[in-house]
Amino acid sequence: MTDVTDVTDVLAPPAPGTGLDELPDLHRSPDAAGHGPQDGHAGHGHDEHGPTGILKWLTSTDHKVIGMSYMITSIVMFYFAGIMALFIRLQLSSPHSSLLTFGQYNELFTMHGSLMLYLFAGPFAFGGLANYVVPLQIGAPDMAFPRLNALSYWLYLTGSITMMMGFGVAGGAASFGWVAYAPLSSATSSPGIGGDVWIMALVLTGFSAIFTGVNLVATIFYLRAPGMTMFRMPIFTWNMLVTGILILIAFPVLTSGLIMLFCDRHFGTHIFTVGGCHLVTGAVTQTCGSPLLWQNLFWFFGHPEVYILALPFFGIVTEVLPVFSRKPVFGYKGMVFATMAIAALSTGVWAHHMFTTGAVLLPFFSFLSLLIAVPTGIKFFNWIGTMWHGQLIFTTPMLFSIGFLLAFLMGGVTGIMLASPPIDFATHDTYFVVAHFHQVLVGTAVFAGFAGFYYWYPKMFGRLLNDTLGKWHFWLLFVGFWVTFMPQYVVGLKGMPRRVASYPSNLGWQSYNVVSTIGAFIIAFSFGIMLWNLWAAWRKPVPAGDNPWDAHTLEWFTTSPPPHHNYTHLPPIRSERPTWDYNHPDSVAVPHGLAAEAAHRARQKEPVA
């Protein structure tokens, strides 16, 4: 690997695509001057006079420190939620287990779901990885609003603490499921402050997410390095931009819904509960307040949320696959448009979670839901196209990404089934759905999420993780994953509802559940190995170097870990692979079109080693 110490434009390789996508030199208006993080910061890029120790952590506004705090907190939440899942699975390994009471069981799956979705998957992606990686990928010195970024983290942390406080309060934690359906979540049906604590936790983390969304969008719009046009941004950054916009669409709806729910619980309103005012029309007394309204609001947030949890992870996979195939991402523009299409469609499908209410417009929601399969399919084929004719290197992140492809394929196919209302009628709220959403969510948040973790770990810590242990982690997770969730499809089709703490013993459901529980423990074991790996890397550091994977994007150009304001020098940015272009001046991407390809072939006459 080229070790770059000093880069100037003079050293730069011939710009790929010269003469193809060059714009005429537009005159630069004075307003635009002064954009560009580079030299302006080289002189005072180090925060040497800043505080140290715990105070450093409390006061840091560096996106890298904040990103890392996010990541550590969210992984801790993941382990907590995982332990809860083990208890749930143990309870279900026999039909009438007395391990947990019904009440405890309801608390556990509610908290498991809430932790996994609100406190792990999302924050890990857009608070952790994106916070760390996006400014680096676009050559920015920090996020656009560093103090707001820090505030996001503190709201997230206090929100997480608030959520966990549920277990300590009288009456126990919230037990109305992660969707808090009204009127079960009302004060009459769920008294006790567990529910209130849950609401406040989500208000805090909701604001945290909104601030992060603002920050991501502003950073990507305003802080790109010169030459880093929108259509040269790495796909991960693109996906985080779209995720940021989705956050801004979805989270305000959740937060306002939660505030209304809190009013229902404490201030006597009846927004989501039937009751309160009585409209007398003729002889009929109608009542106000609508449980359906909660479902509409919740899922208007909830379905985009599902994609807020998916797009970042699609982005990770789109970074990892090309690097370890040693090729550019196939169909870059198609990838970008597919991301936008998924995001746009995902905001119009919320009521596919409400098919069985008998009160929604079935064809509208089912058509838009089915349509999401198209851009998702485009992504799949692009991922496969990226690997096609490549030289695949099966490092740990690559294995996790392939695991994602297989897991998400299965979850996606069953998702298409569920988008068809009659099939949803037959399977809604059964273990079929539990299996479906776990295959999707574990595929994204766990397989792709930890692909990103293994991929960027060397950049963050300047150390390598042990690849053998990483592979053990992957293979155990992979086996455990299928063992856990495949039997759930079967038992779901046999009619086992979700969220049950016990089930009849004469229906032959137990064997499937036992297998599923065994699988869950295999998954747990695999994450034990990850801890071991982290510990080993901490005890015996193996230096990573700046660019251990021979990767493509800008973040691999700077040191590992990067300096305070990220870059002292930048290579010229002439494609979405500036680092690769710099290191492999003769292996530029084959651009669009046949003529361009012929020109490329002529240039390729002399192959490089």
Partner: protein, 281 residues
């Protein structure tokens, strides 16, 4: 109708783990399921093979730099257009099946009003001629004249229905959301407070079917079972007449909702007994 014919051609196809459907509606759903399953198998299998091929065929064999291909316009158009066609096809079959499953034709052979509550079910049938309950669930029905079956948690109520005719169910809840689910009918529907939803069953044969609540409804959600007993139409008529006579002669025999459950769906109330495991074992 073309769709139905095509679907019927799938009769000999396996059920892929699902129930064949004990009602006409459930059967239609099952055919749709078969179609989606096969489509999923074909498309998913194809993509799976591509992935596996890429993974095994293109693992690194040399240091040679692979060609840096980035676009292939024709290919990209193909894999945009073909999925759109597949999806539109699936949507058409979905709508056909949905219209069948969701239809509630007038003049059903029987009408049953179902109230779900924490944690049990109430099934209401009309009272006999002359009683104040011809149409249970309507505001004018005299509840004391209706034929009712009520059961909660450990004693599962049984809903008796006739076969070979449309049975209309009018469903709502007296407190929180519940889910009315009969696995062998391949059907479920939320029971919600605030509005009543209607759907039809047309049982294909006699038999006993288990039903269960699917929507989380609090502490004893796991125990909200019921049974559906499908009998011939004459048996059903005999049973209903006997019940109606019983209501007339012994009004006190009409079962009552447990205390704490409100009878109207206008308010939320519930007993919040924080008990433990009902099984006690």
């Amino acid at each position: 109708m073309v769709g139905t014919a095509l679907l019927l051609a799938g009769c000999k196809v396996p059920n892929f783990g699902e129930y064949p459907g004990a009602t006409t509606q459930g059967k239609t759903e099952n055919h749709l399921w078969q179609l989606f399953f096969i489509a999923g198998l074909v498309v998913g299998g194809f993509v799976l093979l591509l992935i596996l091929w890429a993974v095994f065929r293109y693992r690194r064999k040399s240091e040679e730099m692979p060609k840096q291909t980035q676009y292939h316009t024709l290919m990209e158009i193909t894999y945009t257009v073909v999925p759109i066609l597949i999806v539109v096809g699936l949507f058409v079959f979905t709508v056909l099946a949905e219209n069948n499953v969701d239809a509630t034709p007038p003049d059903p052979g029987a009408t049953i009003t179902v109230h779900a509550f924490q944690w049990g079910w109430e099934f209401e049938y009309p009272g006999g001629p002359g009683s104040g309950c011809a149409n249970p669930g309507s505001p004018t029905a005299n509840q004391n004249d209706c034929v009712k079956v009520i059961g909660q948690t450990t004693q599962n109520p049984t809903m008796v229905i006739p076969t070979g005719t449309e049975v209309q169910i009018n469903l709502n809840s007296l407190d929180v959301l519940h889910g009315f689910y009969v696995p062998q009918f391949n059907f479920s529907r939320y029971a919600s407070p605030g509005y009543t939803t209607s759907f039809d069953f047309n049982a294909l044969h006699t038999g006993d079917f288990r039903g269960q609540c699917t929507q989380l409804c609090g502490l004893y959600h796991s125990l909200m079972f019921f049974n559906v007993k499908a009998v011939t139409q004459s048996k059903f008529a005999t049973w209903l007449h006997a019940q109606q006579a019983l209501v007339k002669s012994h009004p006190s025999s009409v079962p009552k909702l447990p205390s704490g459950v409100s009878t109207g769906s206008s308010t939320n109330s519930s007993s919040n007994n924080q008990g433990g495991d009902l099984y006690g074992d």
